[in-house]
């Protein structure tokens, strides 16, 4: 696109990857929490227990799936000029449905999550997936993408929630895993604990990724010594 209209138009191009790739990319390679850094508000706010993390992850997955399928079905009918408004409307409706469904089916988790369920509307992961994927892909691919991203998001929240619940309460999913003599770190139950835990998880992932990259480069250097200058740049 070269004209001014491109400023207002969604980037074009449906996914050409194998369908499984649409699902799998959200689990790890493009994980919403660890790779895309989206949905940070719930990541910090509600991960003080694994149960809350799972409930929020499942609610977000439901909204991702519902709104993704809905947008994909009507993608050719949604006028480009009002597409963002329409996506927000659809997302907000599914959040409301998730809120009522959670209150009816899982009232304890609904009470624990409090106002953060309504704030799923403001999770930029949702709008990002509608805009970048569901608006230009088939219903099946959109559902796979939403499921992959939703499960990846739930996984990300659960990892942070695991660190916080074990250190903050000495339990995991409500089961005691630390000795009785363990003194819980109260800060892990507070919002700063979310920042600390998330920071340490990211630090661990960066260290692991860096080590893996270095080892791969080292193996390549041993196998092909003549390419040393190129590899040094890569390392």
């Amino acid at each position: 696109m070269h004209d001014l209209d491109s400023l207002h138009a969604a980037p074009s191009g449906p996914s050409t990857a194998p369908p499984f790739q649409d699902f799998a990319k959200g689990l790890w390679k493009e994980n919403p929490v660890f790779a895309q850094m989206l949905g940070m508000c719930p990541t910090m706010a509600i991960t003080n227990s694994v149960t809350n993390a799972l409930a929020m992850g499942l609610a977000t997955t439901f909204v991702l799936l519902g709104s993704g399928v809905f947008v994909s079905i009507f993608r050719k009918r949604i006028a480009n000029e009002v597409r963002i408004t329409t996506y927000i409307l659809i997302i907000a409706a599914f959040v409301q449905i998730a809120d009522m469904g959670l209150e009816a089916l899982m009232p304890v988790s609904h009470k624990a999550l409090g106002p953060f369920i309504a704030l799923i509307v403001a999770n930029c992961l949702l709008l990002a997936r509608q805009e970048s994927f569901s608006a230009r892909n088939s219903v099946g691919r959109s559902a796979l993408d939403a499921l992959g991203m939703g499960i990846g998001f739930t996984f990300g929240l659960s990892v942070v929630g695991t660190v916080r619940e074990i250190l903050g309460q000495g339990t995991w999913l409500g089961l005691r895993v630390m000795p009785a003599s363990f003194e819980p770190w109260v800060i892990m139950n507070l919002p700063p604990g979310g920042f600390f835990s998330f920071g340490f998880v990211l630090l661990g992932l960066a260290w692991w990724h860096d080590r893996r990259t270095r080892r791969a480069a080292l193996n390549l250097r041993v196998a092909r010594p003549s390419t040393e200058p190129l590899l040094e740049r890569a390392v």
Binding site: D3, E81, F94, I97, M100, E103, A104, M188, N189
Partner: protein, 224 residues
């Protein structure tokens, strides 16, 4: 996006996209709103009985807890500044303030469960407490809704703090000493005095408001 070429073969500006009509935009937004609106209404109708049942169960459990498992409870409605034991006819949908009267097996009143709300550290704290207006004794306390700081102030929901409300006598005052000197002394939670004081304030305000109403109801009940 298509590009056109003039006679000399030089690429010209791309063709402009035809503007979308206002009607199309209205149809898009209106149609999406109508579909998702219908979905919300259907889910609301579907989930409402479960939500009401759950909330009713929570309230019944709380009433029984703060009145120490009475044999029977009655709902009293506040109508025109007076407590009555039945909802006015033809007024079924309007929310009316209520208290719950508890009775023992002989039909003697054991106390009233009164709701109170007070702003805490994070958000309003909603609570229900059992109260005997004749002796000003508290029978129990249950925190219904609280968003106080996890790990610190959420101790107001836990037994060590709640247990003391089974043996207090109004008026209440907060104390930081572990051994209270007066029957109205509430041992506050260390590091969460704002939340503790909010609970004390909420109960005190509710007693100030409901005491004359409960006294009048008891007097009328005794006459009858």
């Amino acid at each position: 996006m298509t590009h056109t070429h003039d006679a000399s073969g030089t690429p010209s500006l791309p063709e402009a996209t035809p503007p979308v009509s206002s009607f199309t935009m209205l149809v898009t937004l209106g149609g999406a709103g109508a579909i998702v609106g219908l979905a919300i209404v259907l889910v609301y109708i579907w989930t409402l009985p479960s939500i009401e049942r759950y909330k009713g169960g929570i309230l019944r459990g709380a009433v029984a807890e703060v009145l120490r498992e009475p044999a029977r409870t009655d709902t009293l409605f506040l109508v025109n500044g007076t407590l009555v034991d039945h909802r006015p006819a033809g007024d079924a949908d309007r929310p009316i303030e209520r208290v719950f009267a508890g009775y023992d097996t002989a039909g003697t009143p054991v106390g009233y469960a009164v709701a109170a709300t007070e702003v805490g550290f994070s958000d309003p704290i909603e609570m229900l407490f059992g109260y005997e207006p004749r002796t000003h004794a508290l029978l129990g306390l249950k925190i219904l809704v609280s968003k106080e700081t996890p790990g610190i102030a959420d101790k107001i929901e836990k037994p060590p703090f709640l247990e003391q409300f089974k043996r207090l006598v109004a008026p209440l005052t907060g104390t930081k000493t572990a051994t209270p000197a007066h029957p109205g002394d509430v041992v506050m939670i260390s590091g969460a005095t704002i939340s503790s004081r909010a609970v004390i304030r909420g109960i005190t305000k509710a007693i100030d408001r409901w005491q004359p109403l409960l006294d009048a109801y008891a007097a009328q009940h005794a006459r009858n």
